[in-house]
Amino acid sequence: MKQFGKILKFELKNYAKNKAFVGVTIFLMVVIAIVMFFPRITALFESDDTSNTTADLSVMLVKADDPTQADMVKETFAASFTDYDVQITDEEISVIKNKITSGDVECAFVMNGATSFTYYVNNLSMYDMNPDIATSVLQQIYQMNAMIGGGMSQEDAAGVMSIQIDAEVESLGKDQMQNFFYTYIMIFALYMVILLYGQMVAMSVATEKSSRAMELLITSAKPINMMFGKVLAACMAGLVQLVAIFGSALVFYNVNKSYWGDNGIIDSIFNIPPELFVYMLVFFLLGFLIYAFLYGAISSTVSKLEDINTAVQPVTFLFIIGFMVVMFSMSSGSVDNILMQICSYIPFTSPMAMFTRIAMSTVPWYEIAISIGILVASTFGIGILSAKIYRVGVLMYGTSPKIGNIIKAVWKA
């Protein structure tokens, strides 16, 4: 136990002295700070800009053959498109097109009749809602006209058109929309941290082996202490990094809270229910450990640093497949599909799959208990197995041994 403590301390010191590790952490904290201060910064600039806003409005042209229609369209469009300076034109379509491509005019609506139009724009943005807005505006005009034409008074027709429906949604289970973002963040953080720190553990083992420091280490310390010391140090370093990044996010968010307004997404991220937070921690730790052990064990069988990537590829693939399954299930909205249910019990995928299901759906407590039980048992199992592989692996030089040979050697040792 004393030896384990020494190893843990030594490995932790390595992280603290690792310039890349410290640098990346600070860099990410700065990025988070900038993001969190962003609304405050933009608010600062906006207050200066209020005086000259009207002049900067981009021009939207409206062309209609019928002048009464042109007037009505201009009036309603001006009300609907407040970001544009809406102007009527009777120029030729080719002239309008030229104006758009030259940048004088942002976009143009050419009316082909009461219920038909062509929308001209230079680059159609993914988020360009103008045709949709125009469609619904024109629909309303048409409906209004039809109602008035049918004998309704203008007030009655307007009343019908502007009828409000009171809707209330009450979710008895989980609100997927609300939980989506922090589930997404947690899965993504887990993904990043496991790949990053898994590689770091692998590098650390392989470096010791290739520099032959291993010859001395293996005769000075118990392999199980070495393996657990290394992996737990990586785990703690990872946690410190995450706490630093998310902690700074939380602090900076609270500093700038008033500027963020009622942003539901951001709010939901910082309002994780405590029980979910505990699950997050549990799955995060176990998921991290199980993969770090695997990375450590595999890299101990590698003789040259450049062979690490090839050697750890199967583990990385296994992990990415699990990640993909979870991500696709999340975005499809059906997190309880059969694949997710299976993945919830496989120790290599359950940290992501089970957590996602707990966060975005309702899972019976015993299923959670079984999943965590399997995960805890396999984490310990894999930890001990990886220490055994490590002991055999670190003394194997030359070409990477086949999996069968390693298993045989571990079995006999």
């Binding site: 004393k2 030896q3 020494k6 190893i7 030594f10 010791e208 520099s211 032959r212 420091a213 291993m214 010859e215 001395l216 280490l217 293996i218 005769t219 000075s220 310390a221 002991r391 055999v392 003394l395 040979n405 045989k408 050697a409 006999k412 040792a413």
Partner: protein, 299 residues
């Protein structure tokens, strides 16, 4: 204190590496473990250090199974290597602490050894800024700093210049004088011959020869004389085919039997101008080639 390996058997997969390996090493004396590459020396050392267990056999200290918590072992591996990018004092302290020392005691002992080996100026430098010989001296400290009961030195002299070799010799003698078991493994026979009282020669995983070096040499048939003279030609003509010229120019005369020693010596001294005549004793090199050399044909 007596360290004893008894009937050690070890296989890696189908390959049998050690077969019935037994030898004894005594405290206050140096023991030489010899053998060609792949003979099983490193495997024996690793079993002795509990890196992996033997398939069967025992490692005993004074007749009792060794207790690794009580018996300290210092090891200078043949494959040298520490952390190249780390500060020397930091990594030396780490290794000493892994062996159970407190931080304070470790630093104290390491500072002593850095001074003893003339390395104090490198204390706070990175290992990879040192020359190979100096790195080796740093590595030697990892084997000695925790004051172990058993010191295992695998090829300790390779890569050292004569001055450093002398320094290491003094250190080794000091360790022997302290009553420690010093176990040497080396291909440089002259050093083994200089230090070791007893040896074991491993050949293909079997102990081919084991015992006190003096006894081994004495047990060789004493049927050859070495003669140093200014007039070799006359002696050669006299003794015919039983006289051969050795590499250094001395003559070797093979006797019909050891009992002819006295008469032959008298005959030489009375008839010729003799500078020196003595019974031929094989060097360790000769013994090694004889006991470990036959593998060459098998390879």
């Amino acid at each position: 204190m007596i360290l004893e390996l008894k009937n050690i058997e070890k296989s890696f997969g189908e390959k049998k590496v050690l077969t019935g390996v037994s030898f004894k090493a005594e405290g206050g004396k140096a023991f030489g473990l010899l053998g060609r590459n792949g003979a099983g020396k490193t495997t024996s050392i690793r079993i002795l250090m509990d890196v992996f267990p033997a398939n069967s056999g025992e490692v005993l200290i004074d007749g009792q199974p060794i207790n690794y918590n009580k018996i300290g072992i210092g090891y200078l591996p043949e494959e040298r290597g520490l952390y190249p990018k780390k500060i020397i004092i930091d990594q030396l302290t780490y290794f000493a602490e892994l062996k159970g020392m407190s931080h304070k005691a470790a630093v104290q002992s390491i500072d002593y050894w850095l001074g003893r080996l003339g390395m104090t100026e490198y204390r706070n430098k990175r290992l990879d800024t040192l020359s190979k010989g100096n790195q080796q001296k740093i590595q030697l400290i990892t084997a000695l700093a925790h004051d172990p009961d058993i010191v295992i030195l695998d090829e300790p002299f390779s890569g050292l210049d004569p001055v450093n070799a002398m320094l290491l010799k003094d250190v080794v003698k000091e360790q022997i004088a302290k009553g420690k078991i010093v176990l040497f493994s080396s291909h440089q026979m002259s050093y083994i011959e200089e230090f070791c009282d007893s040896i074991a020669i491993l050949n293909n995983g079997v102990v081919a020869l084991h015992g006190d070096l003096h006894d081994i040499k004495r047990d060789y048939p004493r049927d050859r004389l070495v003669v140093r003279t200014e007039t070799p030609d006359a002696i050669k003509a006299d003794f015919g085919s039983s006289c051969t010229v050795m590499e250094n120019g001395d003559l070797m005369i093979r006797l019909g039997s050891p009992s002819e020693k006295k008469t032959t010596m008298t005959r030489l001294v009375e008839n010729y101008d003799i500078d020196e005549v003595k019974v031929f004793e094989p060097s360790l090199n000769d013994i090694f080639v004889e006991y470990a050399g036959d593998v060459a044909q098998e390879d």
